[in-house]
């Protein structure tokens, strides 16, 4: 399963999110077209992705919700769990820390970092806040493998470098500044202005 395409992983994660909601509502089976409707994609796409991970439903009942949740978990989750840190505990860093805290057992925020001394030593949603100078030590001690950056754009390159040097394997960059990392580090970047500008373009052209 090592070489599943990025887009498939993204969709499997989204299917699981939808399936967890269905499971909570007491649904036992679900059809591909129902998943497709929730995710705004085609049933063919859903069936193709789920076939890729070696699962098939039945024609009469569709997929078993619980089985599919567990199978997606086996594929995308790490068995031992993965520790994550958030660097920059402003509004966005807090939103992310609060959002993840306790949501997924296999992904947990093990530390948050900030440069402001008034924040250091506090807890945010039960997670310890350290000074960014402690990044190398804490990353090692707490076996943190993923860093989420929510610092101001101008600090992004320096923080990315610190995280990579400290041994991080994956980086999520939520600052407006793209960063460079070595080839063996997985980098995901997201900029809110880009998303809003895309929506604005389509609003403008459909006036």
């Amino acid at each position: 399963m090592k070489n599943l395409p990025h887009k498939t992983i993204e969709r499997l994660s989204q299917y699981r999110r939808a399936l967890l909601l269905c499971h909570a509502k007491g649904m036992v089976h679900i059809y591909s077209h129902e998943i497709a409707k929730i995710q705004h994609i085609t049933p063919v796409q859903v069936r193709r992705d789920i076939m890729l991970i070696g699962y098939t439903g039945t024609l009469r009942k569709g997929y078993n919700v619980k089985e599919l949740i567990d199978l997606i978990g086996q594929i995308i989750d790490s068995e031992e769990g993965i520790n994550v840190c958030v660097v920059g505990i402003g509004n966005l860093g807090r939103a992310i820390t609060n959002y993840f805290s306790g949501k997924r057992t296999k992904l947990s925020i093990a530390a948050v970092f900030d440069v402001e001394l008034s924040k250091v030593g506090k807890k945010y949603y039960r997670i310890d806040c350290f000074h960014i100078d402690d990044i190398p030590r804490i990353i090692k001690e707490r076996k943190i493998e993923i860093g989420i950056m929510t610092v101001p754009g101008e600090d992004a390159p320096a923080i990315a470098e610190m995280l990579v040097k400290a041994g991080i394997k994956g980086l999520l960059n939520y600052t407006p500044k793209p960063v460079n990392v070595p080839d063996d580090i997985y980098l995901e970047e997201y900029d809110m202005i880009t998303s809003l500008e895309k929506v604005a373009f389509f609003v403008k052209t459909h006036h």
Copy 2:
């Protein structure tokens, strides 16, 4: 320019972001391979996108930074500007409001909404906060065309319906719950858990 692909718009927005940083540093010209390096894509992709909007650089100097910034602006920005609202002024709503406030003259947050009475009537980063019951009136009065949802997932469908009924044309959904909107409304959804799970999958498979 109406039918530029979504992905091209996304990249043009990102090129502009990079070009603005270069312009601020005093750069006058830039080569396609320099833009490509910042954005982690190929120079061919950059040249193709920029040719699509009818601009060409010179072989010796590359593109004129200022000209390209202005041209991208003409294509993706709305001349009269577009008003945006944020629904849900928790950590994420605040991060977004602070982030956009004053960053782009053509996109401005004209109101924020929340259900908590302690927030209603206050200002967040100089923007008035109203109760969500006032969505229909304020959307009309302040000519708001785009809604950004940062409410809890369970509230997302109801808020999306209110925004659409109030006349919104584009919707950015930052809640973990996908929503349905009519075909003529442009919808962009982003879930942080999906991004983190994708990074985690690649970290896991490269152990």
